[in-house]
């Protein structure tokens, strides 16, 4: 670790303070395989998100209220509990409308994740509809793009991950690697300043408004919306055109259909904080 010890201890203590009660909740005796328990969660403080795509009329920053976010992406074990309780979402029964033919293709069968899908690895090959249904089943929702990007903008030791060299190094190393055949567990990732693991470095994640992304060109130079295909003033006018990872995420969201599943796309849940 390159961060100074007192700062690391402080960050660790902060993590434990926030995570402690949630961890105790997650390990309560009420948890059974049939009922997915609430995920361990963290609080993302209110902040501002700089959207990659905005019109000239929009403010350069979008305020985001504080919210609760799952500390980790949903795992195969958690998703198994969900499909056990909700048979309509099992691989053999799900409607093609809601999930394409690769849905949970790496699982051994409907109710057996198997060797390709370790229990504590993030679940992938799930569609937006499936992710939403899972979130609903535990009384939560998917984070919005703004919420997810705000949470993900933090580095390991600072709120501005862009200026955290370790963080940037790990992020771009991950972007350069091919997707492993079997995904590592969430425990292998390093928590960011807020205590979130795996926002980078593990899987891409669904957001609730993924279909708000309207990138139509293939390169960062394409800035306008096609006026025939789209109505609106939106354009890629980001302050930070060097944020390649953000551009990749936006391009991915633009390319997805709601029933698509991919080997590197999972999700985590969020919820509003009580007013």
């Amino acid at each position: 670790m390159t961060a100074s010890p007192p700062r690391t201890l402080c960050a660790l203590a902060l993590c434990l303070l926030v995570a402690g009660p949630a961890v105790r909740g997650a390990l309560s005796p009420a948890d059974t395989p049939e009922r997915p328990s609430a995920p361990r969660e963290i609080i993302i403080p209110a902040g501002a998100y700089v959207p990659l795509q905005r019109s000239a009329k929009d403010a350069p920053q979008v305020p985001v209220a504080a919210f609760a976010l799952a500390a980790e992406p949903v795992t195969n074990a958690e998703f198994l509990a969900f499909v056990t309780a909700h048979p309509a979402w099992r691989r053999s029964r799900v409607s093609a409308l809601f999930a394409d033919s690769s849905y949970l293709a790496h699982w051994t069968d409907d109710l057996t994740p198997g060797p390709q899908a370790p229990a504590d690895s993030p679940v992938v090959r799930v569609s937006w509809f499936a992710a939403r249904a899972y979130a609903r089943s535990i009384g939560q929702r998917l984070p919005t793009t703004a919420e997810w990007e705000l949470a993900a903008s933090a580095g390991y030791t600072r709120t501005d991950g862009k200026n955290d060299p370790d963080f940037q190094r790990d992020l771009y190393a991950w972007l350069a690697r091919p997707v492993p055949a079997i995904l590592p567990t969430v425990a292998t990732t390093r928590p960011n300043l807020h205590g979130a693991r795996g926002l980078h470095g593990l899987v891409w994640e669904w957001v609730d408004d993924f279909n708000a992304a309207m990138v139509t060109g293939e390169s960062r130079a394409d800035s306008g919306l096609d006026r025939d295909l789209f109505c609106g003033a939106g354009a890629i006018g980001a302050k930070e055109m060097t944020d390649y990872a953000a551009f990749m995420r936006q391009a991915l969201r633009s390319s997805l259909k709601a029933n698509n599943t991919t080997t590197s796309l999972g999700f985590r849940c969020a919820r509003d904080l009580a007013p």
Binding site: R54, D58, S95, L97, L225, D228, C231, G232, G234, A258
Partner: protein, 205 residues
């Protein structure tokens, strides 16, 4: 023959009293009974958008499930009333599609507009839009919750995003659904494709 008549009238009344699936417009009695009975309880096919079971509200204020459209071909677009650029063109194009339909299909096809603008497109605003564009009873104007609107857009492959001034950036798309609620044709953009869309409606009947 004679005892059949009261049964026929009863069935007709029952059908009319329900959400009037249009196959109940069938004049042959046997077909009517068969149709009404089958319609009401059949599960939606695996490609039917109506599986989503989302709840909307019509401009009359009445609750509306998309599944109520089953039994007829549907021409559908998402819009918002304050849209000054593309949406008026889209509605005009839907009217053009309708004008090209042969009479018997034109009478059965349903034209549906669903608003992105959860905040401003109230039932009153939709009713005003209907009056302003002179949209008759073949048209259904719907509003929903953020969730149901986002889900419908996702099902259709429509992208949308609210901008700072309250307007919406969105895909321009007209979708044709068959009587089972399955997507059979998409007409993206604002140029051309009316003939093909009309042909798809005829084929879908």
């Amino acid at each position: 023959m004679k005892p059949f008549l009261p049964v026929f009238l009863f069935a007709a009344a029952a059908c009319a009293a329900a959400t009037s699936p249009p196959c109940c417009a069938e004049t042959a009695a046997a077909k009517k009974d068969e149709c009404c009975e089958a319609m009401a309880s059949a599960p939606f096919s695996k490609n039917s958008l109506y599986q989503a079971d989302a709840a909307f509200t019509a401009d009359t204020g009445a609750p509306f499930k998309l599944g109520a459209l089953r039994g007829r071909p549907v021409v559908l677009a998402m819009f918002f009333a304050a849209c000054g650029y593309a949406c008026p063109l889209t509605v005009t194009d839907m009217q053009a599609i309708r004008a090209q339909l042969p009479a018997e299909v034109r009478d059965r096809a349903s034209f549906v507009l669903v608003s992105f603008d959860v905040a401003r497109d109230t039932t009153a605003a939709l009713a005003a839009y209907r009056a302003q564009r002179r949209l008759d009873s073949a048209w259904t104007l719907l509003r929903g919750s953020e969730d149901s609107v986002r889900e419908l857009a996702a099902l259709l492959g429509v992208k949308y995003k609210q901008e700072a001034d309250g307007a919406f950036a969105h895909s321009n798309l007209i979708t044709i659904l068959n009587p089972q609620g399955e997507v059979v044709h998409r007409r993206p953009g604002l140029k051309g494709g009316i003939d093909e869309a009309a042909a798809a409606v005829v084929a879908a009947k």
